[in-house]
Structure formats: structure tokens, C-alpha cells
């Protein structure tokens, strides 16, 4: 199977990326709906229309015909836990969508058999910058969560431990993408030079 052109690995990847984009949009919709539901629920609790117990944590076991599930959510849906989780999900999904969109454009050009386009270097640059922003925002959100816990106290029943987790694979991928972006820029320059050689 050839790597570039029609009916190649590149065109298969293009289809896979289109599916991934749809899945990410669905995830984004779910996160937005969850955030909205959480805000509405908190509003109703504040107004006294709903009991705060609805957000209280619990531990137990659910049994049904052919299934059994256990759940352990001592801290419940405390905002100190929910807000950073929603924020990190939003950043990751939004970043993922940007990356997938740029990858789609890259693979479109691979499928058409013209990999060394000037725009491809830009797409790769946007991808590594987005990856870096996602990774850095992960650290920032972790720090923010720590600050929230320090300022407002740990939610009752929660056992929260924080450890700085640096993902070396992500940083290695970013470095590889920086180099690849420059390779594509040079390739595009050489291609243009070749086209303008009479």
C-alpha cells in the first residue's frame, strides 16, 4: 500500500481524522452540557429549589440483572473538583480539535500527492504550539486546583494528592514536530525553487 496519493495510507488517515473530529465535537458538546447542568444545579441549590444532598458523595454498589457496579465518590461533586476537571477537559478537547483540524489539512495535501506545500510547515507549527499550550495549561490547572484547595479547603471526604507529572513523551513529540516543521519549510522552499528553475 502506497503512503501518498489516492487510496493510500494518507487517505485512510484522512478518513480516521474526520471521524476523530466528529468524536471530539461530541465530547466538547458533552463537556459543555455537563458544565451547564452543573451551573444550573448549583443555581437551583442556591435558590433552595433542590437539596444540596444531590451533589453529596456516596460509596456503594448497584446490582441488576447481569451486572454489578461499585462506585466510590466520597467528595461528591464539589466545585473544587468539578471546575478544574471541566476546565482541563475543555482545554484538552479544544486543543485536540485544533490539532485534528490541522492534521486533516496536512493529510489532504498528502493525499493529493503534494506534501511540500508552504502551508504544511505552518500547520505543523500550529500543532506543536497547541501541544505545548495543552501541556503547559495542564500544569497551570494543577497549580490552580492547588490554590483553590488551599484557599477554600479540601472538599469533605476527598483525599487529594498532588504530584507534578511531566509528560516526557509529549515534550519529545513537540521537539520532533519543531524539526519536522522546519524540514517541511525547507522542502517547500526547494520545491518552489525547482518550479522556478527554467
Amino acid at each position: 500500500m502506497k503512503a501518498l496519493g489516492k487510496g493510500s495510507i494518507a487517505s485512510f488517515m484522512e478518513v480516521a481524522l474526520k471521524i476523530t473530529a466528529v468524536v471530539l465535537w461530541v465530547f466538547l458538546g458533552c463537556v459543555a452540557a455537563a458544565a451547564l447542568a452543573y451551573a444550573v444545579l448549583n443555581g437551583l441549590i442556591a435558590a433552595g429549589a433542590v437539596s444540596p444532598d444531590i451533589l453529596a458523595g456516596e460509596r456503594g454498589r448497584v446490582e441488576g440483572s447481569g451486572f454489578e457496579a461499585t462506585f466510590d465518590m466520597d467528595s461528591g461533586l464539589a466545585w473544587q473538583v468539578v471546575a478544574p476537571a471541566l476546565l482541563s477537559a475543555l482545554v484538552a478537547i479544544a486543543g485536540g480539535l485544533i490539532i485534528v483540524r490541522r492534521l486533516l489539512k496536512l493529510f489532504e495535501s498528502f493525499r493529493s500527492g503534494e506534501p511540500f506545500r508552504k502551508e504544511n510547515a505552518t500547520h505543523l507549527r500550529v500543532i506543536w504550539i497547541t501541544m505545548m499550550v495543552i501541556e503547559l495549561s495542564r500544569y497551570a490547572i494543577m497549580a490552580l486546583t492547588g490554590l483553590i484547595i488551599t484557599a477554600f479547603g479540601e472538599p469533605s471526604g476527598a483525599d487529594m494528592t498532588f504530584r507534578l507529572n511531566v509528560d516526557l513523551m509529549t515534550w519529545a513529540s513537540i521537539l520532533v514536530l519543531i524539526v519536522l516543521a522546519e524540514v517541511f519549510r525547507e522542502g517547500a522552499r526547494l520545491r518552489e525553487e525547482q518550479e522556478l528553475t527554467i
Binding site: E192, E193, L196, T197, I198
Partner: protein
């Protein structure tokens, strides 16, 4: 670019059209237009050879060099090194 292509003048002197030169040299009109308008990045010796043969001239009759701001910057950079 500091290299100027003076193909226009040569064609005028020989009362030859660009299309006729294309046919004689075996280059597309689009490529010869790129060369004539100075947009070309490089010229192959085979192309230069064909042009000189059909126009009965020397490479220097088609190409000339003029100092440009780009060259001055490059010269200053080299001096600094």
C-alpha cells in the same frame, strides 16, 4: 534579484515574438514568461544554451547584473563575519 533578464530587448532587436522563441527553444510560454519577467530563481545551462543558439547571442546579452539593496546587506554581513 540583482540579475536582470534582458530577453525583451533581444527579441525586439531580432523582431521575434515570444511564442516563436518558445517553439524554437522548446520551452513552454509560461516558463519563458517567468524568465522574461525576472521571476525565475535559476536557469539551466541547457535552457541558456538553447536561448543563445536561437537568438545567436552570448549569455551576457541575455543576463546582466545590477547591485541591489539585498547584495549590500549580504556584503555587510560578510564583512561583519
Amino acid at each position: 534579484m540583482a540579475i536582470r533578464v534582458t530577453l525583451d530587448r533581444m527579441l525586439l532587436e531580432r523582431r521575434m515574438s515570444l511564442t516563436e522563441l518558445c517553439d524554437r527553444v522548446g520551452i513552454t510560454l509560461a516558463n519563458l514568461s517567468i524568465l522574461k519577467t525576472g521571476k525565475a530563481k535559476a536557469i539551466r545551462f541547457s535552457t541558456l544554451n538553447a536561448l543563445c543558439r536561437e537568438l545567436a547571442c552570448q549569455p551576457g546579452d541575455i543576463l546582466s547584473w545590477e547591485a541591489s539593496a539585498e547584495d549590500e546587506v549580504e556584503e555587510q554581513e560578510m564583512a561583519a563575519e
